[in-house]
Symmetry: C2
Subunit: 523 residues, 2 copies
């Protein structure tokens, strides 16, 4: 911790907040500001180092901050307008909370002396923010602005990471702030693991019992994959990734680790009678509760924790592999492109064609079941890439997360594999991608329905009548995707066959100055 005792020139409170954020490495602000954020907006031009990116809707901003934080491990900030602006960003903050993404979520508020008059935009911001925030503070003293900002960033970075919501009433932004100690954010301790737990898991592996590893968080890094692959090859243990990892590496010769199945029957079967080793993952529970099926996918007494989320699950796996004397795995033969016959588009064909097309170090934001599962199945054979999935189930996450990842990693190509229904929740993402010339390739699975809801009606034993059926169909009218894209300044292609998709993907890879949308029309 550094305390700078040199007197500072007078600065507005807004400038102090931005200076503190910039000093702590916050270099991007995904913003949808209003009147109560104007001093912060003005200060963006006075304080160097923070790039402002405008979203037309707050869910775009919060989802982008999530994608950014997942890729870089440090927070972007948001800038949102009081309670209602925060409310519009909550769904993607919910996902970020589940992804444990560090985010500095800045919310403006009325002047502190104006709050008691209950003007139209007044609301209980704390009640709205708490469910998604690991840390919450509303500024109460001008002399604490730097410290409040640093405390928020520190909390966002504290293992395992989370959303820090800092509310800044506009009077604290406007007024010259007193000189204040300019403390740095303390570097978080490097993630560690517990040697005793490694021994415990080794014991389980050597006991002869069936063992399944459930990998999440750092276990899904490149090192984690390699170590887990060694363990599986040496012991016969099976490996699963969490069903919806915040981030996983894949392809490029890494071991092919399946996701734990989504529906509880299949997940329970996969884990049955085995010791379940949790490596960066929490105890697996059913996504939804279904009558007659347990919520816990494995019995509590079958669980052994190797590392918690936020701990060094990857290093723990390496240590375990070494203790087992598990040999290094040979580099697998170079993966060949899938052969995909000409014909109508199917989810399997899409997964394979995208896997063929991925350039090395691509990032793929996946939202939507129709093509998500077949793609991940296929992509183990692709070049090395990073997959980001919807961690919290609040849909409308895929496009903003792709946007934020593209801002974070301008040297990598970003793909959004996105279902049509879920794309609509944050469709305004397209405009920001066009505005910022982000070369995101959006692959919209156009099946004109909420496929998952049709499945769930069936699981509920409901034979849908006209109203229920209509609530799951998006075909009246169908979306005109090329027109929507054009509306936001994004070029678009349509593919109805495998050959058309192959060509569209080739064209997309040539298009490097901005986003491109490909509507993939399923039969």
């Amino acid at each position: 911790m550094r305390t700078d005792s040199v007197p500072q020139p007078p600065a507005s409170g807004a400038a102090i907040v931005l200076q503190a954020a910039a000093a702590a490495g916050v270099s991007v602000c995904f913003a949808n500001p209003g009147t109560t954020e104007m001093p912060l907006v003005g200060a963006l031009d006075q304080v160097p180092g923070v790039r402002a990116i405008l979203g037309l809707f707050e869910g775009v901003c919060t989802g982008a901050a999530d994608g950014y934080g997942r890729m870089l491990g440090r927070p972007a900030s948001t800038l949102l307008h009081l309670g209602p602006g925060l409310a519009n960003g909550l769904a993607n903050l919910h996902n970020a909370r589940r992804a444990r993404t560090p985010i500095l979520n800045i919310v403006g508020d009325h002047a502190s002396w104006h709050l008691k008059y209950d003007a139209p935009l007044t609301s209980d911001i704390k009640s709205l923010a708490r469910p998604v925030s690991a840390w919450y503070r509303s500024v109460e003293a001008a002399g604490q602005l730097w410290q409040d900002t640093v405390d928020g960033i520190q909390a966002a970075l504290a293992a395992p990471g989370g959303v820090a919501t800092l509310v800044v009433p506009v009077d604290f932004q406007q007024r010259p702030a007193p000189v204040q100690a300019r403390r740095d954010v303390a570097t978080p301790a490097a993630p560690a693991f517990d040697e005793a737990r490694v021994g415990e898991v080794q014991g389980a592996l050597e006991s002869g019992r069936a063992v399944v590893f459930l990998l999440g968080d750092r276990a899904l890094s490149e090192r984690g994959h390699i170590a887990a692959g060694r363990i599986a090859a040496a012991t016969g243990a099976r490996l699963f990734s969490e069903t919806f990892p915040a981030r996983t590496e894949r392809g490029g010769g890494l071991p092919d680790i399946d996701r734990l199945p989504y529906f509880p029957e299949a997940a329970i079967a996969a884990l049955k009678d085995a010791v379940v080793v949790l490596a960066g993952a929490l105890a697996p529970v059913a996504y939804f509760g279904y009558e007659g099926l347990p919520s816990e996918l494995a019995p509590a007494d079958a669980l052994v924790t190797l590392a918690l989320p936020g701990e060094a699950a990857d290093l723990a796996l390496e240590r375990l592999a070494d203790r087992l004397n598990a040999p290094s795995l040979p580099t697998p033969p170079a993966s060949l492109p899938y052969s995909v016959p000409d014909g109508p588009l199917t989810p399997q064909a899409i997964g394979r064609l995208l896997s063929n097309a991925l350039p090395p170090q691509a990032i793929v934001s996946v939202e939507g079941g129709t093509c998500g599962y077949p793609f991940v199945t296929a992509s183990a054979q692709a070049a090395h890439h990073t997959i980001l999935t919807n961690t919290g189930g609040a849909i409308g996450q895929g496009l903003p997360v792709a946007l934020g990842a593209a801002v974070a990693c301008p040297e990598r190509r970003v793909f959004a594999l996105q279902s049509d229904g879920s794309a609509q929740y944050t469709i305004q993402s397209l405009w920001t991608m066009a505005r910022e010339h982000l070369p995101v390739v959006m692959l919209i699975t156009s099946n004109r329905r909420y496929g998952i809801l049709q499945t769930e009606l069936g699981r509920n034993g409901i034979e849908p009548g006209p109203q229920a059926r209509r609530l799951t169909l998006l075909d009246d009218p169908p979306f005109d995707w090329p027109a929507l894209a054009q509306g936001y300044g994004v070029p678009a292609l349509v593919a109805s066959t495998t050959e058309e998709l192959r060509q569209a993907l080739a064209q997309a890879l040539e298009h490097t100055d901005g986003p491109l949308l490909i509507e993939m029309r399923l039969a």
Copy 2:
């Protein structure tokens, strides 16, 4: 209250909720359901009387319920998916709270026995709902489902009206519900007023002091307007409407009642040195707090309350007019169309052309300052119409409210006078309008900027640098409005001159089978 003791056939909990809602007059459900709402979705085909309308985004559903409730005075329901679905609907529920609109806000949740496992979609729904809800309950007993639903509707209807949030865990929806008393919603007491307050206001009027009436809620009904006009003509009192009324009648020879100015300097000047009579309005406060200006636009000792929101402010005004022996006003001469010269579009020309075009009994949902004020100024001369404004300042309200008003009043033409920036927050409204063939005329003021923010930067004394300027501009890229409309199945016209807008409005009035969008390009 009726208690039906005849044994009922076994029904699912979902059917009980819908039956109770339908029995209480809830006939429309604006829905964006997910897995935990499937039994309610299925029951929509089993229980007669509730029409389901799908929104692609929850803010469309909640805003539509607001517009519906403002027009009919009885609640529509929503159907939202757990905490994140509710979160996406909160901004427009905030506006509905400020409008005091009755809404039955139904939120599904995990099976009650599944909640403790903290599955991905689990969140603190109560904390999210409380800031916008006049009433909140999460179902805890299958035998109480009818009563819970009735209690919610009763609370929504209780003066002055509000949002009732009913959370229904999916297990309570699924399971057969026990026989339960089927109580009716009690008819709310007719609004009343306090004769003593009428006398007090009469005293103020007869004291010789300057008097200003601030009208809201029922004072802005047709009867309220007429009575207030009589009082003003007889006494010289001045009349203002709230700046953002939930609903006001206008035109058709009604007295021309200005809105209280938005900015505090002008509002304070308008109320200065007068007795301020509150008729269905709360004490006026500044929309935002500005340094050096008071939050209270009139001193507390200048305020006299004639009627609170929810009370019979219109009848109180009538009684006051009668006590003052204020004569009936002559019917004003038939209003003539404004003469609007050919030329580029200006906000004033737009306000006048729309006023000329309004058919009798039109409904106009107004969101956005650029054209909102000039339209309201002009529309006093138009045929009788109803204006709905943004009550809570959460933008993205105008299009959904128009949608809901069109569902509520199929015999009336609905217009949405909407700024381009604010239209983007709930742009998905277009699709539901097309799907339901709602003949809403959307007039998009295309000035490619957040005009209010440019004004507010100036008020803050900020000379915007490149980042601040860019955060207030929407011209890079500009929206292609006809393409966006086409994307959602809505025909569109573009008007850049007064003559083009005149023709577009004429065409729009002929178009009765669905929505139509007119982009009004300001110079």
